[in-house]
Amino acid sequence: MELSRIFIIIISASLINNFVLSRFLGLCPFIGVSKKMDSAIGMGMAVTFVLTLASIIIYLVNKYVLLALHVEFLRTVTFILVIAALVQLVEMFIQKFSPILYEALGIYLPLITTNCAVLGATLINVSEKYNLLESTAHGFGAGVGFTIALILMSSIREKLENSKIPESFKGAPTAFLAAGIISLIFLCFKGIIAE
């Protein structure tokens, strides 16, 4: 039962309530880093990694600091603090132990600090009252969903590069249109799980 619930959380976070396409979180990197497939995959991996880790740590911080001291209203501030510190730590760690991965991720790693998808996922963890395992699953699912959205978008934009587009629609306008259409398609996942 527990396992199926975890599975449902992952599917729900990645497809049904896709962070980019249904919740409209993390739109900045979604538009900014989706021009090339390679960078989209790199960014997706980095976000997934940080989201999973942040979900675990923020669960602990929330439970043993905020709830214990009855200062829940400090959630947003504390979470941002934790995420920023975490991303910095992860960056140092990767730079030390895997320079290749560090160069591949490049600027995207520090960019995650200000990615609202991370903050959004952790805030949802808290409001849904997920336990540690569920929080981790939700964070991971959200990361996978983000990666899927980025890869979809980048494959479309790579195709768009070579197609004939009216002058005024070149660049961001077509990207926004495409994003809207993918978002509409993702609405179809809404019926998968009967709550």
Partner: protein, 267 residues
């Protein structure tokens, strides 16, 4: 109410200090050693990123030198001074290298001397002209004058002037050779700075054919080659070519005797 403020301030403060300490500790512990030589060398390079060394930009070359993969002599824009600095950083013996070469344009066919046989309207780069229509000038060897060399030069040392020929500002030229590479007709040659004599033509055609298209072209009379005993100036087929490895000791008589005045002498 007051206790709430105190508790929240303290808890956030402690969290902040905790994370700060953690990051500081991690920053020390996980410090990545970057070779200080790389940065030093990069600072000593001219920073033009011309690519004359064969590496992608100055930082690429600095890295290769620091790792011992590249010799210290490859930076021609920097010249001997840069070499000296790099040698000091790397702790190797510095040999007094030769001065860098300078670009020289081997064509005299300016707007007045060379005939035009067409009115060219198209892409205005030498490369495009060379590989498509051969341009408006009648000579198929000479300078096209659309300034690919000017475009390629990172140091603003070569300019196509109103006469339709590129002119090298020798003080600015660092000898990187990018203009010579850019020229589709191989008119620009990298020559020693102390070179005295030049044949400013690259046309291999028969004399009459050369005279038909250009007033100042090498007609292959071989007078100059005979005057220098076939040492400094040699005949390559129907064109006189200067061998820059041979020092020229003579005076301007060779240039004066040249029937088409295509030989240039610098005292």
């Amino acid at each position: 109410m007051v206790s709430l403020i105190i508790i929240s301030t303290i808890s956030i403060g402690i969290l902040g200090i905790l994370f700060g300490a953690l990051l500081g500790y991690a920053g020390n512990k996980l410090k990545v050693e970057v070779d200080p030589k790389v940065q030093q060398i990069e600072e000593s390079l001219p920073g033009a990123n011309c690519g004359a060394c064969g590496y992608p930009g100055c930082s690429g070359y600095a890295k290769a030198v620091a790792e011992g993969k590249a010799p210290i002599t490859l930076c021609s824009p920097g010249g001997p001074e840069t070499e000296k600095v790099i040698a000091e950083i790397m702790g190797v013996e510095h040999e007094e290298g030769a001065t860098p070469p300078v670009a020289h344009v081997k064509c005299s066919g300016d707007n007045k001397t060379v005939k035009t046989n067409a009115n060219y309207k198209g892409v205005l780069t030498c490369n495009a002209v060379h590989y498509t229509t051969q341009g408006d000038k009648a000579c198929v060897y000479g300078c096209l004058g659309y300034g690919d060399c000017e475009e390629a030069c990172p140091f603003d040392a070569i300019f196509v002037l109103e006469d339709g020929l590129p002119h090298v500002i020798e003080d600015k030229c660092t000898g990187c050779g990018l203009c010579a590479e850019a020229c589709p007709r191989d008119i620009i040659e990298m020559v020693p700075r102390n070179a005295k004599i030049f044949v400013n033509c690259v046309s291999y055609d028969f004399g009459p054919d050369v005279s038909k298209v250009c007033k100042k072209g090498c007609i292959g009379c071989s007078l100059c080659a005979r005057m220098t005993n076939n040492v400094v100036i040699k005949m390559e087929d129907k064109l006189a070519v200067v061998d820059f490895n041979e020092p020229y000791e003579g005076d301007s008589s060779v240039a004066d005797k040249c029937p088409t005045k295509v030989i240039e002498f610098r005292g």
